[in-house]
Symmetry: C2
Subunit: 221 residues, 2 copies
């Protein structure tokens, strides 16, 4: 959902879109890839401007509940302390590296990412401080004319504000997928479902995707 | 060769070695993988401490003479201005990201890289300034206890000094491969061969690997 709303923001600013999807061995990759292409179709992004890449290294390294089925997914509460088991070690550096390499070859400068620090699971690689440090590294590690600029329009918004922004921009939220576990219906129990449901509830907008169950406190309307 | 001498330095400092090799679609990947495993055998690094990963994204993105055969390899001169066609866009960020993710899962802190700024092809992602900026990003983008530290013991040495250091540490230089083009004999024409041959010549040490030709000015003994 965050990626989709971010794409809507980039389009609303007049950018031509090039879209990146990564398979890093996450449980719901097939469903995410389906969502990626559906959103790309919605925005009429041709296949040559879509990059789908396997980050085999993250799967090989493991160390996360998203990539190693021996590690259980956290469930049912968003108020835990610390970094949850769904953290994929330094995942976003791999995504940003890919985006930077692709931008350098395309001659693109503006890289949009759906990072959210404000209302997130507490992943260290989603924070503004990390993104700005990576941007500094990316400018030093590429050709002088590349000068990548990272934009994270959702960074300091809560999920309700993200839902409202998506609705206001006509983002195709029904095509998005957030659940860490299910691929046909969303589980309604994992952190990602709970964050999303809390956002739709806060925005007083019904979530258009199907859930196995919705906790009573997040029911809308 | 730089990776091998770097491994020798890390071992000489008493570290246990975990070794990373990446296939990013480079022309000589198979020969490099063979060298990687031979060096790992030399240092008795077990298979579970070797990580061999395909960086499919760099192959997909292209934009380099090393990964796209439609782009010719630069040959025959080391005094060109600018960044050569063998530069792989932001490649080292992908390697550093992988190393950081793996270190985080292993609980390792010290990451050694064979970057050389002093006597190099002029790649922006081999420079000390880039490495330090990436290190800052890696500390912000991982768990607080991870705190990766990057070591680049060759950064400010010329190739002759690297050869001398390798010899003094007993590094298995005969097992290394540097050529961008050949996989049976080194071409003796690409930038990587010329840099290497100039280093051995400067150190007055014969290069133990086979060459199709060695330019007269770099012949030793």
């Amino acid at each position: 959902m965050d990626s989709c709303v971010t794409a809507a923001v980039a389009r609303s600013l007049g950018h031509d879109l090039c879209l990146l999807h990564a398979d890093y061995g996450q449980r719901t990759e097939a469903r995410e890839a389906q969502a990626f292409h559906a959103i790309a179709e919605h925005y009429q992004v041709p296949h040559k401007r879509r990059l789908v890449v396997s980050l085999e290294g993250l799967r090989a390294v493991g160390g996360s509940a998203l990539t190693d089925r021996a590690i259980p997914l956290p469930e049912g509460a968003l108020d835990r302390e610390g970094i949850p088991a769904s953290y994929v070690p330094f995942r976003n550096a791999h995504l940003l590296s890919l985006a930077t390499s692709w931008a350098e070859v395309l001659g693109a400068r503006d890289i949009f990412v759906g990072f959210v620090e404000e209302d997130s699971s507490g992943y260290p690689d989603c924070r503004e401080a990390f993104l700005r440090a990576f941007e500094a590294a990316a400018r030093l590690g590429t050709r002088p004319e590349t000068r990548p600029t990272f934009h994270a329009p959702l960074m300091h918004r809560d999920k309700a504000a993200i839902v409202r922004l998506g609705v206001s921009l006509g983002a195709p939220l029904a095509l998005t997928w957030s659940c860490y576990d299910g691929e046909t219906v969303a589980c309604g129990r994992c952190d990602s479902c709970l964050l999303r449901l809390r956002g739709f509830h806060g925005a007083a907008v019904p979530d258009p995707i199907p859930y196995a169950r919705v906790p009573e406190r997040f029911k809308v309307g």
